[in-house]
């Protein structure tokens, strides 16, 4: 069963497997354990740091597609500038906060890299033409997760109806309270301009 006569990818695979199975000849168990532990911290930490780096507004508006379109629109809304100075950045609403969901969203975002490379929205005109499609993705995502990213800050359990306007009180105490509607059903276009809304429910 010597591997010298084996060729091709199967041979490589078999040799690799044998190395993995064999006990270490030169390195002590302590070194391997501690080294593996340290390497794990470095790799894991590095990975998360890199992910967090892509989870900042600075990163998002590093590309002109985001900086010149959606970011400019956000700046005119209450989620950017308001009386108390608490504001939402891009990832607060567009990236799930839980790790698993976040990684899933980051994997989806590889499509956005593709779009960046091939310039699918690299002009204002292209962006406007695609706005409805892009908005629909976000509406669908928020509808599916019951507006999770809204609720990370706006928790229904702590809403004080007496502080709300009569209109808001009426809607929130009925449709939202019963779970019949979720935030995005009514609050479309609060942070960015709306696309052509022909045929969208509620318009």
């Amino acid at each position: 069963m010597s591997g010298s006569h084996e060729t091709g990818w199967r041979g490589w695979l078999r040799r690799g497997w044998r190395i993995l199975r064999r006990p270490a000849r030169h390195w002590s168990l302590g070194f391997l354990t501690v080294g593996g532990f340290v390497a794990g911290i470095v790799f894991w930490g590095g990975f998360n740091t890199a992910v967090e780096l892509t989870n900042t507004e600075t990163f998002c508006i590093g590309c002109h597609e985001m900086r010149d379109n959606v970011y400019q629109e956000l700046r005119r809304t209450v989620h950017y500038s308001n009386r108390s100075g608490v504001r939402a950045t891009c990832p607060d609403c567009h990236v799930p906060h839980d790790w698993t969901d976040k990684i899933a969203r980051k994997m989806q975002a590889s499509k956005e890299l593709w779009g960046k490379i091939f310039g699918s929205i690299d002009t204002r005109e292209k962006f406007l033409a695609k706005r409805r499609e892009l908005a629909e993705h976000e509406w669908a995502r928020l509808k599916a997760n019951d507006s999770l990213e809204c609720r990370n800050c706006h928790d229904f359990r702590y809403m004080d109806y007496t502080q709300q306007s009569p209109r808001a009180r009426e809607r929130h105490s009925t449709a939202l309270a019963s779970g019949e509607k979720t935030c995005i059903d009514c609050h479309k276009g609060i942070a960015h301009e709306l696309p052509d809304m022909a045929g969208v429910e509620g318009f």
Binding site: E170, G189, I190, L194, M197, G202, F203
Partner: protein, 154 residues
């Protein structure tokens, strides 16, 4: 003689108005008592009425006021935020008053399926109400009050 009268009158008016100005007796109007070359301090930003109850109209043709905030409501070619509650199709769910039937008519009186383009921009006629003291007093009386007054007069 007539000329002398006129000059005296002009002099009196001139001196009188100069005195009135110096006393600050003349109204500065909405601008307030700040000389023209100086910058006026910005007045406080009044809050917008948020009652969601209807307000009586001062005359039958008056466009009703908007009793709620409309900050950042998008009204353009793409979306009409107002109509997402006030349109014919939406009032059942929203409970908002439907825009009047005249908004669905073109200028020749033909009825349209959707709101008429000439009525598209609500804030041309309908405005929010600020919770501010009117800078100028207003003694407007609506037609009902006038009729009552006329009837009371002997």
């Amino acid at each position: 003689m007539k000329r002398l009268h006129r000059s005296i009158l002009a002099a009196v008016v001139l001196v009188g108005s100069a005195w009135a100005l110096a006393q600050g007796a003349l109204s500065w109007g909405i601008r307030g008592a700040v000389p023209v070359p100086e910058t006026h301090p910005a007045p406080e930003w009044p809050r917008v009425e948020e009652s969601a109850t209807r307000r009586a109209r001062d005359y039958p043709m008056q466009p009703p006021t908007i009793p709620h905030k409309i900050d950042n409501y998008q009204v353009d070619l793409n979306a009409h935020k107002c109509m997402s509650c006030h349109s014919r199709r939406r009032v059942e769910e929203s409970g908002a008053p439907m825009v009047s039937v005249t908004h669905y008519m073109d200028r020749d009186g033909n009825f349209l399926a959707e709101v008429s383009p000439r009525r598209y921009f609500c804030t041309q006629c309908h405005v929010v109400q600020h919770l501010a003291r009117p800078p100028v007093d207003n003694d407007f009386k609506d037609v009902g009050a006038l009729i009552t007054e006329a009837a009371d007069r002997p």
